[in-house]
Symmetry: C2
Subunit: 315 residues, 2 copies
């Protein structure tokens, strides 16, 4: 009798679902809209219905479901309770209890934060394939991250393990980060952060740059120009790489992972970014760890569902 | 039939040994000199003889020995191989294989780096008792450390997990650390480091201090004067606390432990030091982790043998 796993990546706009074989092979993926109305109370019933429908369509019995992994864009306790999830409208939600009620007979439910799930997905099937421990840096609107040690997500005492976006990398910063502190990595290495960094660097010099001609340039503009070889854009990306390399050196002196995985929108800059990070990382890292590779994420938006399935597999 | 565990903490001058009950209670402790002659080849035979003698004296059979944990002042691989240990004169040594040969019938041998073992000892029986995850900062001649997650030592890919002394905490430093990098925590928070920091701070101001009257002051002098309330000594200790608090904030964004344990000679400064660390830690830590306690180590020189016994207990 074949067994199956469902991976469910719950985002602010859509829920991504994946049906996996019991060995972790992705068989099918689909999406449903995230209904955030009524304090997010429709989300899990919608997910359960979508899973039931897929099971009926494929002739999968509850006995054949090895488990369901779900991730949320917010803090999740070790007991699988979402404490709050602002962009879903959710307050406290005992996901394990709710899912067991909605899908009787399926008791193996795993729940995680989305950044942690993505890190596990990339380790198992993406940029970190073949490794057993990794720390992922997700460079999106903000900077998130996840820590995977010995093949399992490590989320820490307060769920703050892997919150690499809030490593203090600049002691001279005077403008506060969204978190209230000053000098967080997120202030320089997120899509918004690098734009802010670029504006500041452009204002402090006269180096010519096509960025000066764009009314409201984006992280993509900086990365594109750096790839084309523009000096100023390259200098900006190098500075961003310096902060990322410094942050990774902090992580290495703590858990010394096998690999760093860089994902999120900013990672579309490609090897020009990982090369800049690696250059600075090697300078700041303690000598036993200087050769730790920095690789690009490979799964894009599928990292979450892979990671959610991985939580069931690594249990 | 009672079972027993031996904990063996191998230092450059003496080997500390402990006989523990199978439940981890210390029954007896003693020391033998470390014979570093002939490339350290006498060390393990001396340890084995001391254990055999104790077993004969107490009437303990090999079947009653649940295991032997040993620690070394140098890097140890996950397979229990010491790669090199300069202050013991040792090159590569397969400790598990050697001990199994020296003490036939006792196959449960665990080997670790001394800083990691001390961290586990403090977690199980010392300052971190009652917690399950901790990161220890050992402030001695240098700054070492150890990471304990879910009750077990985490040593990392290259054995560099917990090398908190080489976290870069000062980007403006121009003098290199012993490791070759600039701005390592060890340059400010070790016994040598705080003296160097103090000399630099004294040279940059005219604030009166009794330190100016001591020819060659020590870390102890700084801590003693700070405890007496001297302004300049307090400012120096506060600066040291700032670097330590910053370093702990890096660790929290990576593994978010339950507690920080501060040990080593410098920790004799007491709560004046942990208070200074806590003040700065809370400023740099990401908000979910700001309340993580910073406690003093309690076991002193016994931390190693407790940790070595703990490695057998947590297996």
């Amino acid at each position: 009798m074949n067994s199956y796993i469902f991976g469910v990546d719950i985002g602010g706009t859509t829920v991504k679902l994946g049906l996996f074989s019991g060995e972790g092979l992705l068989l099918e993926k689909w999406e449903i809209p995230t209904n955030t109305q009524d304090h997010g109370t429709h989300i899990l019933p919608d997910v359960a219905r979508s899973i039931s429908d897929k099971m009926a369509q494929k002739g999968i019995s509850t006995q054949q479901v090895a488990g369901i992994g779900l991730d949320f864009p917010g803090p999740v306790t070790a007991q699988g309770v979402v404490t709050h999830c602002d962009n879903l409208g959710l307050g406290r939600l005992d996901v394990k209890e709710a899912m067991a009620r909605l899908l009787p007979g399926i008791s193996n439910i795993a729940v995680e934060n989305d950044a942690n799930a993505a890190a596990l997905g990339e380790l198992r099937q993406g940029g970190g394939k073949g490794y057993n421990s990794a720390v992922m840096f997700t460079l999106g609107t903000g900077v998130g991250g996840g820590v995977v040690l010995d093949g399992s997500i490590f989320s820490g005492t307060n769920g703050a393990a892997g919150e690499v976006g809030h490593l203090t990398v600049e002691l001279n910063e005077t403008v506060p980060c969204g978190c209230g502190k000053c000098g967080c990595l997120e202030q320089y290495a997120s899509a918004n952060g690098i734009v802010r960094l670029a504006k500041r660097m452009l204002a402090q010099c006269d180096t010519p740059s096509r960025l000066r001609e764009i009314d409201s340039f984006s992280a993509k503009d900086i990365c594109d120009l750096a790839r084309e070889g523009e000096e100023m854009a390259s200098t900006i990306l190098d500075r961003c790489g310096k902060y990322l390399g410094l942050a990774m050196s902090y992580v290495s002196c703590t858990v010394d992972p096998q690999v760093y995985i860089v994902g999120g929108g900013m990672s579309r800059a490609g090897t020009i970014l990982t090369d800049a990070i690696t250059k600075h990382y090697r300078k700041y890292a303690y000598h036993p760890s200087t050769q730790t590779p920095v690789v690009l994420a490979e799964l894009g938006n599928d990292a979450g569902i892979y990671g959610c399935a991985g939580m069931i597999l690594s249990k």
